[in-house]
Symmetry: C3
C-alpha cells in the first residue's frame, strides 16, 4: 500500500525532520520486519538521512548546498528555480530504511530529513513498507 504523508514548508530552503511521522506510519502498518521505501514525488525537493540531534547540522547542510549550487548561475530554465532542481538531484528522491520488531531502525544520530529547496509549499512524501 502506498501511504502519502503531508509536509508543509515555510521557507524557500528548509530541512524538515520527518522521522517521527515516518515512525508512526511504520507502526500503524503492522509490518514487523522488512524495508520501508521513502519517495519524494517533487523535482525541487529531496530526502536525506542525517543528524537530527543538533539542528546546526541541517543549517550547515542547507547553507553549503547553496554555496555549491548558487541561486543564480546563468541557468537556462526560466522558472527561477534551477538551483532547486539541481540540489534535488544531488540529495536524491528516494531512501530505503529498515523495519525491525515493528519499528523503524536508524543509527543512533540519524533522522529522516525532507529537504525543501523551492518552498514554501505543501509537499508529499510517498511511503511503501
Amino acid at each position: 500500500m502506498l501511504i502519502k504523508l503531508d509536509v508543509s514548508t515555510r521557507q524557500r530552503i528548509e530541512l524538515v525532520d520527518i522521522t517521527a511521522e515516518v515512525k508512526r506510519v511504520v507502526k500503524t502498518s503492522g509490518v514487523r520486519e522488512g524495508v520501508c521505501h521513502l519517495f519524494c514525488p517533487h523535482t525541487t525537493a529531496g530526502l536525506t538521512i542525517n543528524e537530527n540531534a543538533d539542528p546546526s547540522v541541517k543549517t550547515d547542510l542547507a547553507a553549503e548546498l547553496s554555496r555549491i549550487v548558487p541561486y543564480s548561475d546563468n541557468y537556462f530554465h526560466l522558472e527561477g528555480n534551477s538551483d532547486a532542481h539541481i540540489k534535488a538531484s544531488l540529495i536524491g528522491a528516494s531512501e530505503t530504511v529498515f523495519v525491525e520488531n515493528g519499528d523503524l531502525v536508524l543509527g543512533t544520530w540519524q533522522g529522516i530529513i525532507f529537504c525543501e529547496f523551492d518552498g514554501p509549499r505543501q509537499r508529499k512524501i510517498w511511503i511503501k513498507i
Copy 2:
C-alpha cells in the same frame, strides 16, 4: 527477474529521459503493485529523478555538475574521466520507484533520467520489479 534496458548516448555528457522505456518494462512485467528497483551498472554514469517537462532543467543540471566537478582538476586517475566517476557518485547508481495498478507512479513533473558522464557509449539499465 532482472531486465536489461539499452540506452545509447551520443555526447560525452548527456541526460536522457528513460521514463517511457521503464514504464513499458513495468507494464510488460504484469506486476500490479510493488516497487521497481533501477540500477546503473556503470561507474561513469548514474540515475536521477527530475523534471522531464522543460528540457532546460537537464541542460542546467549537466552544466552545473561540470562546474562543481570540472573535467580537469589535478586528478590521479589516468583515463581522463575522473570527473565522470565523481559525478556518478554524486548522482548515484540506484533509484527505487513505486508501482500501482500495474503502472509506474511518479510525481507530476518527474521523469527518470539516465545521466551519461563519459559518452558516447552503449549503456544498460538493470531493472527488478
Copy 3:
C-alpha cells in the same frame, strides 16, 4: 534478517571497498534471487558504488569531495565535522543492489565503497536481503 558488517577505518577520510564482504554475506544468506539493501547507520559516512579496479578513482573522489565541501567553511555545528555530515548527504546512506543465482551482481568495474568522512572509527554497515 538484518545483518551487521564491521568496517574499520584508519584515516579521517577513507574510501573502503567492501564488495568482497557484502558478497560473502549474500552467499551465506542462501538467497538465490532478489535485492540486497545496504544501509549506513552513521551521519558522517556514506555508501557509493564506483570503480574498484584502479584505486586512484577513490583517491580522486575523496579529494574532489573535499574541494566541493571544504573542512572549514564558517559552519555552525561545533563538533568540527560539518564537512563530514554534508559529504554524507551528497553521497547517500543507502544503496540497493541485485542478487542473481545466489550472488551479488554488479557492473564489470563496479565495487561497493564505504565512504568514511570522519574517521578513524569502528563503523557498521547494515544489510537486508
